[in-house]
C-alpha cells in the first residue's frame, strides 16, 4: 500500500503512472476522464487505486471529453478539487468547456500527454498542447517522470492559491514520457497532506441553498476588468512558483529551478532553448560539445503559460546566438511555437539583435536524436561566428 509510512517510496513508474500517483495523493473530490492514447494508462492506474480503496473522491467516465471538463467545472464551482488527464483529439474536444473553466477561474488540474494533432497521427509531438496555449490556463512542461509527479502536486497549490485561481495543465511528451519507465520517488500521503491542505474556498461557490448566476452576460467594461484580473493573476503565478518550490523542497527534498531550467549557461556564448523531454538529449550533446571547447548551454522553459518573457530575456542577454528546438509547428509563422514566443520575448531585450535559429523535429513520434542536436549546436555555433544561417530547419527532411 502506497499510503502507509511517513517517507517516500522509490518505484519504477511510467509518466502516466506518475501522474496517476500524484492525482491519487492529492485526493481530488471528482476525477473525470475519457480514455485516449497515450494517456489512457492514467485512468487504468487510477481505477486500480480506486479498487484498492485509495481514492476517496468520485470517479466518473462520461461519454466524451466535452462532458469530462463540464463535470469538472460543476464540481469545481461547488468547491471541489478536480483532476483529469487527456491527449490531442480529447484535449480539442474539451476545448470549449476549458475556456469556460479558465474564464470562471476554476482551479482544475489536468495532465496532457502531448500527442500529434490529427486523428491519423497517434504518436508524440507537442502540437496539441501548443494549439491550446491561449485558452487562459496555466501550462507547465515536464522533462522526467519524477517531474510529472511533483508538478501535479505543486499544480494544485498554484491553481488553488487564493491570489491566483487559474486552472493548470501539466504537459509531458506522450510516448517519450507517458510510456517511459523511470525510478520515481512516490511521497507518502502524510507528506502530501502537509504540503497540500484541502482546497480553501475564498470565492462564492454554488450550493443548493444559495443559488447564483454562473457566467452571466457582461458589458465590455466589466468583461475587460475580469480579463485584466485574470492576466494579472497569471503573472503572480510566476513568483509564487518559486515560493511553492522552496516549500516543496523542505518537505520532499527535491529542488526545482522555477520557470526556466538552466544547464551549463554561466559562460555560454550560444544557447539551445528547449521544452519537455528532448532537453535530456540536448544536455548530452552540450556535454560533448563542451569537451570540444564550444561554450554552449541550454535553457528549458518549464512554465509556458504564463510565459516567462522577462526571465528568458534576462538569461539570453549577452549571448551570441540562440537555437530553439520545437516539436511542433506554428501554422502561418512557418516556424515552431517556442521560436515565436522566444522571439517576442527577446524583442524587449536591449542591445544588438542576435541570430536566432529554429529547429523543428520529432513530429508524430519522430525522435529528436543526438545527431539532430549535434547539427543544432553546430549551426548555431556557425551563426554566432557571423556566418549565414537558415532561420528554420526541419530535422531529417530532404
Amino acid at each position: 500500500m502506497l499510503t502507509k509510512g511517513v517517507t517516500s517510496q522509490r518505484k519504477v513508474l511510467t509518466g502516466n503512472a506518475a501522474a496517476a500517483n500524484a492525482a491519487m495523493l492529492c485526493q481530488p473530490d471528482v476525477i473525470a476522464a475519457y480514455p485516449i492514447t497515450p494517456s489512457t494508462e492514467i485512468l487504468e492506474v487510477l481505477y486500480t487505486f480506486q479498487a484498492e480503496g485509495l481514492i476517496r473522491g468520485q470517479m466518473v467516465e462520461p461519454e466524451g471529453e466535452h462532458s469530462v471538463m463540464s463535470i469538472l467545472i460543476g464540481a469545481s464551482i461547488c468547491g471541489g478539487r478536480t483532476f483529469t488527464g487527456t491527449s490531442s483529439q480529447g484535449l480539442f474536444f474539451m476545448y470549449e468547456p476549458c475556456i469556460y473553466a479558465a474564464a470562471h477561474r476554476l482551479p482544475i488540474v489536468m495532465v496532457n500527454a502531448n500527442r500529434e494533432a490529427t486523428p491519423a497521427a497517434v504518436s508524440s509531438s507537442g502540437q496539441d498542447i501548443h494549439m491550446v496555449k491561449d485558452n487562459g490556463w496555466m501550462q507547465m512542461h515536464a522533462e522526467s517522470c519524477q517531474e510529472i509527479l511533483d508538478m501535479v502536486i505543486m499544480a494544485y497549490r498554484l491553481a488553488e492559491d487564493p491570489a491566483i485561481l487559474v486552472p493548470m495543465a501539466i504537459a509531458y511528451d506522450g510516448y517519450y514520457l507517458s510510456y517511459r519507465s523511470e525510478a520515481v520517488d512516490v511521497p507518502s500521503q502524510k507528506q502530501v497532506n502537509t504540503f497540500l491542505p484541502p482546497r480553501k474556498i475564498v470565492n462564492p461557490i454554488l450550493t443548493i441553498d444559495e443559488p447564483m448566476t454562473v457566467q452571466p452576460g457582461m458589458t465590455p467594461m466589466i468583461f475587460t476588468e475580469y480579463r485584466m484580473k485574470h492576466m494579472d493573476a497569471m503573472q503572480r503565478a510566476m513568483t509564487k512558483l518559486d515560493d511553492i518550490e522552496a516549500e516543496f523542497e523542505g518537505i520532499f527534498g527535491r529542488s526545482y529551478p522555477g520557470v526556466i531550467e538552466e544547464y551549463r549557461c554561466d559562460d555560454a556564448d550560444i544557447i539551445l532553448l528547449t521544452l519537455g523531454s528532448c532537453a535530456g538529449t540536448a544536455k548530452v550533446m552540450i556535454d560533448q560539445k563542451r569537451d570540444e571547447g564550444i561554450k554552449v548551454g541550454m535553457l528549458r522553459v518549464r512554465m509556458y503559460r504564463p510565459f516567462p518573457k522577462v526571465q528568458l530575456a534576462e538569461k539570453l542577454r549577452g549571448r551570441k546566438a540562440i537555437g530553439v528546438i520545437d516539436r511542433d509547428v506554428s501554422f502561418g509563422w512557418n516556424s515552431g511555437h517556442l521560436f515565436v514566443e522566444a522571439k517576442a520575448a527577446l524583442n524587449d531585450m536591449e542591445g544588438k539583435r542576435i541570430p536566432m535559429l529554429n529547429f523543428i523535429g520529432g513530429l508524430n513520434g519522430g525522435d529528436i536524436t543526438i545527431k539532430n542536436m549535434k547539427r543544432a549546436v553546430e549551426d548555431v555555433h556557425r551563426a554566432a561566428q557571423g556566418h549565414d544561417y537558415a532561420h528554420v530547419t526541419f530535422f531529417d527532411v530532404g
Binding site: 470565492n203 462564492p204 454562473v214 466589466i222 485584466m228 485574470h230
Partner: protein, 93 residues
C-alpha cells in the same frame, strides 16, 4: 495594479444575483420607443408583440421599460394608432 478602482470586488462573475454587478440589457439599444400618451388607444398591441416583454401598463397608456428594451421597433410598427415613434439614442461620450 493597486491603484486601479475596479467595478467588481470579484475576480470573475461570481455571486448571487443581489451581489452581482448587474447590467441592463437595454444598454446596447440604438433607438428607443416614445409613446404619445394622447394618441395611445390602450389596446395592448405593443404589449403583446414586444419580444423582450418590456412594455408595462402605465394606466391609460403603455410604455417600454428602457432598462430592457433593445429598440427593435416592433411596437412602433404594430401600433394601430401610430402612437409610438422611434427616437435615435445619442451617447454622451
Amino acid at each position: 495594479m493597486a491603484n486601479i478602482k475596479y467595478k467588481s470586488k470579484y475576480e470573475s462573475p461570481w455571486a448571487s444575483p443581489e451581489k452581482l454587478y448587474t447590467i441592463n440589457t437595454g444598454d446596447w439599444r440604438y433607438q428607443r420607443p416614445v409613446t404619445k400618451k394622447t394618441k395611445c388607444g390602450h389596446c395592448a398591441t405593443c404589449y403583446i408583440f414586444c419580444p423582450a416583454d418590456c412594455i408595462t401598463d402605465k394606466g391609460g397608456y403603455y410604455e417600454a421599460d428602457l432598462a430592457t428594451c433593445k429598440g427593435c421597433g416592433i411596437c412602433a410598427r404594430e401600433c394601430p394608432t401610430k402612437a409610438i415613434t422611434m427616437i435615435r439614442e445619442v451617447r454622451e461620450d
